[in-house]
Symmetry: C3
């Protein structure tokens, strides 16, 4: 058995500060098809990190927006006919342009129809899938290191599995990220925003796996910083935006809990 | 004339701490068909209180979500064809499962079409209707204790009437709740969130009337705590989430202004 | 060549405090057709300033809501078929009633379809168009004082051009407003909220140009106050709501940077 962990630990902890700096310098345009609950917070997370978000879901307009985007997020929360149609148009455009897209199969464990749609989208080769354990199981995955590695290999994508410890697997490599704060589960749309940030980091990186891990590590460290200042989930949602905006490379390297 | 007040005062002040504790232990799933303005804040209020919110309005998916929910909210803000269709499907499912649902007839005083739809939904027996005085008048109610008691009896529901003093009537009982803070009227969607919280408390209680009153009392006390820390409506919206998360039973009992 | 600047400087700095006081006294109803990202924050900005917002986009209801509104905002973000239909109904009603409406052509530089729709709406004579430089160019405007004056004259509207320095032109007058804070570009929907506030000030003023300038000046001063307290874009979004709520006339007059 080979040991991808040792390599992963260093490469992720090193990649995150560089990618964040590159992201801030480039200000990538990230187009998000996301749910109505998450649109505002996701836009603010992207802005705080240094990106330029756009959010239209209109099939008549989305092609033009994705033409100018550096990456695309397709999030399945509050999915309706319009978002469904827009998703296919947007994926066509982003694939044709050779740019990455990220799938967030929100709550597919609650609805077979939504799970079916997620599987169809997965076949269209997202650069990464960001999801939680229940959602991963609904796709047939096993939510541990080996399960994530296997799924990533078979689906030809990166699996970015959120939890108390995040697991990011792809290209035969896997990292476990133990940063974060319990309040992250008490703020709606934080997972959705994590997926958008993953798309943004992938847009700025060379390697989808290390970029995905760097995105979740960056957000986890921002969450830790926010958690030290917050007095509850309301102030936490404010503090994590400030933390993302103010985060420096040294903080990420010092705080990184990668294994 | 009988005097329901004395009984109410004690039962509500006693019920609220117990119900909040039960809610935090059970983490009920609350499905919300709510307006686009309120979705994010409502989800955060439910999370801060200890619930698990879901928010889809897609007719194709909503049945599956409501199958797994402990209670349903139907809020008529930004009502469109999709929400209208979803509401009927969702109410069918929740009624069939014998679980409660709450109606929030937002701004029906501004639109006859919306008022008509609210009346049709009222005939489908929500466990409670949470609304303000203008909305209550649009349903034919008189916004005082006797008016609320009468309406509750005739409609076979709980009337939870928000205002400077909240009035909650049902099952021949009525309580007036004087907690709260003026900033509550300066934060959008706080009434919508109150309705969602009412659904959550009803899901955890035995008696719809005391659960509805306990929900508004809990939110009112959280509002008071938040008002002591806030410097305006922006910080108030943050503080009330923190207050809900941190609220202890003693605070509710000590601060309760029930008559 | 005449010199509108001198007159403008005084009239705007004087108009803003009076208009804000009038707005707080009247609590105008502002109906907003706006994008899903902006709805919540726009409602909170209007509430913090002292207005009563409504937000439905349903074609079946919007006529009734606009019948009771003092002004209308049409914002083109996340534009879909429903918003398109609602916009025409709403503009018909508001024009028939002789009340003002404001156009915010969000991101029309990214989509020709959206730019075409914006031009069609511009022909329906909004009282003001609030937009940024890229959006102004997409309408054929030149984003400087003379370009704004020329466009305003030809289109028969007020041009309210947001940037590091805002330019407001109309009725042969122009003002440059240098208040504000860099975080204003890092909070999503702040421009959308500025457009809604412009509609509210116009509803309370006699002259669309000075009312538009007063709206942007008021928001710019609130932004400055917020920037002195904020630690990043998350806390800035909170502080600007508190600042708008607490802003007094003296602060606007003292801080105004109008030229």
């Amino acid at each position: 058995m080979h040991h991808p962990q040792a390599a992963s630990r260093n490469s992720v902890a090193q990649a995150a500060p560089d990618l964040l700096a590159r992201l801030r310098a480039r200000a990538p345009r990230i187009h998000c098809i996301t749910n109505a609950v998450a649109q505002n917070f996701t836009a603010n997370v992207l802005l705080a990190a240094g990106c330029v978000p756009s959010m239209t879901i209109s099939p008549a307009e989305i092609g033009a927006f994705v033409e100018g985007a550096n990456a695309l997020l397709v999030n399945l929360g509050t999915f309706d006919g319009e978002r469904r149609e827009a998703a296919h148009i947007a994926i066509d455009v982003i694939r044709h342009r050779g740019k990455p897209w990220v799938l967030d199969p929100v709550l597919i464990d609650r609805s077979e129809a939504r799970a079916g749609f997620a599987k169809a989208l997965l076949a269209r080769k997202p650069a990464a899938v960001r999801l939680n354990a229940a959602e991963f199981k609904a796709l047939g995955g096993t939510p541990d290191r080996d399960g994530a590695l296997l799924f990533a290999k078979e689906a030809g994508t990166v699996v970015a599995l959120s939890g108390a410890t995040d697991i990011v697997a792809g290209s035969g490599q896997v990292a476990a990220l133990a940063n974060g704060h319990p309040h992250m589960a008490r703020v709606t749309a934080l997972g959705c925003a994590a997926s958008a940030l993953t798309a943004a980091f992938i847009a700025c990186g060379e390697d989808d796996w290390s970029a995905s891990a760097a995105a979740l590590l960056t957000l986890g460290v921002a969450g830790e910083v926010a958690g030290e200042k917050a007095r509850g989930p309301g102030s936490f949602a404010v503090e994590i935006l400030d933390a993302l905006h103010n985060l420096d490379a040294a903080a990420i390297a010092q705080r990184a809990k990668v294994s």
